[in-house]
Amino acid sequence: MTITSLNNLFPSGTMTVTKSTAGATTSATISHSDNTNTASTSSIKLSTGGANAGDSFISVTNGVANYSYGLDNTDTDAFVISESTSPGTTNSARCDADGSWTYPSNSAFSVNTNGADAADVTGNDTIYTPHLDTAIFNAGADYDLGTHTYTVPVSGVYLFAGAIALTGGANLYWCIVHFTRNGSFVVEGLQGFDPTANTICANISHIYKYDAGDTATMSLRAGIALKTADFAGNVNNSYFMGALVA
């Protein structure tokens, strides 16, 4: 038997609490029972030597997944939650010294057109799915540029925003932009117009709950005249974007 604890210090630098009793919790408890003084705190402190040293962090693993959270010394001492055994590799959340939070691995996308117009797509209430096949960004690669479809990676609340522009229609009174969930419309943004106008547009943004695997698309339609309205391919007029927000 080796006892290397001296005055409550473990000079070798490692202390382990271990057992393997099925159904029982292995615990290390820091407990303070006083309830009369606000300085009666209990804490676990992780401390490294300085700017040239390593990270202070907690690592949790169950043999399947590994996460760590703490201060990343090589990333301006940001507090991070990482999907790895040490901070800084595959960050899921990051809080910098100013207190700003970012979620670097969250699914998010923004797409617009390739600049090409599409002639005679609607005007008689025909539903048209525009070819939004140019990615501004596509974090998580969940938006398919070929099918113009976003597939939700995890269940949650998503923010979507989009806009469309049409030209060349005559006697149009309104146009609508829609967002879908699994093919069904869940929101529409409608704009009414002077029927003599040549260019018409619509836009909308909202949040909606999606389940993992659900799909989202954007489409449009305009009426109430002939199918002579053209989709405007100007990259600044028509776009679709979304992000996991809660």
């Binding site: 676990i44 959340a93 995890v154």
Partner: protein
């Protein structure tokens, strides 16, 4: 006295306890080297595998608890939970790199019941969205149409409006009205009994207890004869969430 410490291993649970008033109690893991970037200070919590339990850090007072770690029973999701174990609640979860916050204040509601003759000749109509899609913190009322901010912060708020039956309206106005500021979007009218609509999205600073609701007005009709369009509940909606 039973000594169960072998080779720096506690073969049973470890407990550091004290009751001295005003004195902090702590477990310190310290690495004083400042010459090597691999000189970490690390607390590792490990369980046995996919059929084992959860590795987590639990923090509690006698009044409340929080825990941080992996939930074995939910696809090994990393969680921050407002409970003594990670299996009870999920305030923040990380799965496949994506961060979700199932308890973050967020709501969406739409108008399902018919609302005819609500405006057209200048009458302001405060819209009550009577069906919720979701309301994660129960902050929206389908009875009043009012969202009440649960905590101080910046909120994303968005609404869409579609009216029908407009014959002579020369101006339509839609606005999100918060306690401190109203955000209006006036737009042109229409003729011929067709649809007219618009939408407003804002980031609004709100103090805990502040409220937000939506109202609209059309001007120019002979009477207040314009209707809310309520087809499948997708045109007229109100939604928002705590952004930061």
């Amino acid at each position: 006295m039973t000594i169960n410490l072998v080779n720096n291993k506690f073969l049973n649970d470890l407990s550091v306890q004290a009751s001295a008033a005003g004195v902090a109690r702590s477990l310190l893991i310290q690495n004083t080297d400042n010459t090597n970037a691999a000189s970490h200070a690390k607390l590792q919590i490990t369980t046995g595998g996919a059929s084992g339990g959860d590795p987590y850090l639990s923090i509690s007072t006698t009044a409340s608890s929080a825990s941080v770690g992996l939930d074995n029973s939910l696809a090994d999701t990393f969680k921050i939970a407002s409970s003594a174990t990670v299996e009870t609640t999920t305030n923040l979860g990380v799965l496949g790199g994506n961060v979700v916050r199932p308890l973050q204040p967020a709501f969406r509601a739409y108008r399902n019941a018919a609302a005819d003759n609500v405006t057209g000749n200048g009458a302001w109509y405060s819209i009550i969205y009577d069906v919720e899609n979701f309301d994660q913190n129960s902050d929206y009322s389908t009875a009043t149409g009012i969202f009440t901010a649960p905590i101080t912060g910046n909120y994303y708020l968005s609404t869409g409006l579609v009216l029908n039956g407009c014959d002579e309206a020369v101006l339509v106005n839609i606005g999100i009205v918060t306690t401190s500021l109203a955000y209006y979007q006036p737009f042109g009218g229409c003729t011929g009994g067709h649809y007219i609509g618009s939408h407003v999205s804002v980031v609004a600073p709100m103090t805990a207890g502040d409220t937000a609701y939506v109202r609209c007005a059309a001007v120019g009709e002979e009477s207040n004869r314009d209707d809310m369009r309520v087809t499948e509940g997708i045109e007229n909606f109100f939604c928002g969430y705590l952004l930061q």
